[in-house]
């Protein structure tokens, strides 16, 4: 689904590259989390995939086609929900469709409504985003990401601003959404437990520059619950990942 081939990138203001000859790939339908220390370049990987940054070298492919020759190939959900306060929730959700411009107004409304039903916000479409709680806003932002129509979703720490209990609810909710939609998800998080709970596979970004991502298969199938995290093999992997990240921090 997504392939990085020998990709390098350096910010103009920096003396050395942040990403150096990085190669990795994500299979169709996978839920893959990227974890790593702050500032190591995880979000830069996303910005390279969604075209906000241009790589200095190497190629990125989505569905075996170079992203340079594609449009609307990925849905991006940033850390903050970025809902526009002057639009209602439904109007926010239909924004990607408006930009694509392929559908009529009633069709866009219908699709937005379906997306809101999918995320459990059908009663909130006409409300202002300010009336929504943090978790509901993230669900609306997720519905908007779904309406990009892309099979590849890039979720950049979408729950980082939420309180702990809301995060727990939201991760269960996201897993359910993924099981229904079966889109390919690339998910950035600082939370090892969150990555373990959600992912098929975890990629660990170590010190900058990122030259490779160490891949770990999560030793549990789906469906998952909070108890899944208590399994000895999950616990062992959690310890291993935390000690890796700690080592990097020191």
């Amino acid at each position: 689904m997504l392939t990085f081939q020998d990709v390098s990138f350096q910010y103009k203001t920096e003396d050395s590259p942040l990403i150096n000859h990085l190669s990795f790939s994500i299979n169709k339908g996978e839920f893959v989390s990227i974890i790593g220390p702050s500032g190591c370049g995880k979000s830069t990987i996303f910005r390279l995939v969604n075209g906000l940054l241009k790589s200095a070298g190497g190629e990125i492919f989505v569905d075996k086609t170079n992203i340079k020759s594609q449009k609307h190939y990925c849905g991006y959900m940033p850390q903050q929900d970025m809902l526009f306060p002057w639009r209602s929730v439904a109007e926010n959700v239909r924004l990607p469709l408006e930009i694509q411009g392929d559908l009529s107004n009633p069709e866009m409304d219908l699709r937005a409504n379906q997306a809101l039903i999918a995320v459990g916000l059908e009663e909130w479409g006409e409300k202002s985003p300010q009336e929504l709680s943090g978790g509901m806003r993230q669900r609306a932002a997720f519905a908007r990401t779904l309406l990009t129509g892309s099979d590849l979703l890039l979720l950049d720490e979408p729950f980082s601003a939420l309180d702990y209990l809301t995060r727990l609810t939201m991760r269960e909710w996201l897993l359910k959404q993924w099981e229904q939609e079966r889109k390919t998800v690339l998910f950035i998080t600082h939370d090892v437990e969150e990555a373990l709970f959600l992912s098929n596979r975890i990629l660990v970004a170590q010190n900058a520059p990122i030259t490779h991502l160490q891949s770990f298969d999560v030793p549990s199938g789906y469906p998952r619950s909070m108890q899944t995290l208590q399994q000895p093999e999950m616990f062992a992997l959690k310890e291993q990942l935390i000690s890796m990240l700690r080592r990097d921090k020191l």
Partner: protein, 250 residues
């Protein structure tokens, strides 16, 4: 009592106190050609209502409206130009700032020399005074557009035009209304200065004529009228702003 009414009480009390001080001072001085009392001014306004309302107010309002419309076009145009082209910002911004160091009152007689006693000399003074707050405030609005929101629209495949209408335009609207509220009193002052220095009609002209007749209350009457008109216009804009920007402050 409504909350807004209660909030206006301090301002109303202070205004009343200032008027009482003014009335007392005028009664103490006992020379209406130097300092007429507020009651004398209101009485004179009533006596002069016919020439003021039928001839001079419309003349001044024509200058204000034409000047304001031109300033809005000029201010918005410059702000959009500077937002779209960084080179234009570098070239224009210092010039726009420099334009405000020119003493308008000193330039106004020159405009009369160039354009005569007609409408355009006064309009030019008005434009010179009002385009600046519109340009700078709206440009500040453009600068306040969140990069993350622009990035998000870009990932949806938005072009520059879509980014302008869906993100930048709603973002600058509150700034635009603030600019207009600043520009209205300035345009009235500009029109009055223009008329004061060279005109055949208008409230500024009328005020100067009363000065030559040592009619203190007659000088103040058109000034009072200008103030009231400015407050009414700002009030109307505030009402429109509240209706349009329903999402503001939520």
């Amino acid at each position: 009592m409504r909350k807004t009414n209660r909030a206006n009480i301090p301002a109303a009390l202070l205004s009343l106190a200032l008027l009482m001080i003014w009335q007392a001072a005028a009664m103490g001085i006992q020379a209406a050609y130097i300092l007429p009392s507020p009651l004398q001014v209101i009485l004179r306004l009533w006596e002069l209502r016919r020439p003021l309302f039928s001839a001079h107010l419309p003349a001044t309002m024509t200058v204000v409206v034409v000047g304001l419309v031109l300033s809005v076009f000029l201010g918005l145009g410059l702000a959009i130009l500077m937002d779209c082209y960084p080179a234009a910002e570098k070239a224009l911004y210092p010039l726009i700032i420099a334009s405000q160091t020119i003493p308008t009152t000193a330039l106004a007689p020159l405009f009369v020399l160039w354009f005569g006693y007609g409408l355009w000399s006064k309009v030019l003074v008005t434009v010179l005074m009002t385009f600046f707050p519109i340009t700078i405030t709206v440009f500040d609005g453009f600068r306040s557009v969140k990069t993350e929101m622009t990035d998000l629209l870009f990932t949806f495949g938005a072009n520059k035009q879509q980014i302008f209408w869906k993100l930048k335009f709603p973002t600058i609207l509150p700034y635009f209304f603030s600019a207009i509220k600043m520009a209205i009193p300035l345009s009235i002052i500009g029109a009055a200065i223009g008329e004061w220095l060279g005109a055949q009609n208008g409230l500024g002209y009328f005020s100067r004529r009363m000065m030559t007749q040592l009619d203190g209350a007659g000088v103040f009457a058109p000034i009072l009228l200008l103030s009231v008109v400015a407050m009414i216009l700002v009030g109307i804009i505030s009402i429109i702003e509240k209706r349009v920007l329903t999402w503001r402050g939520q």
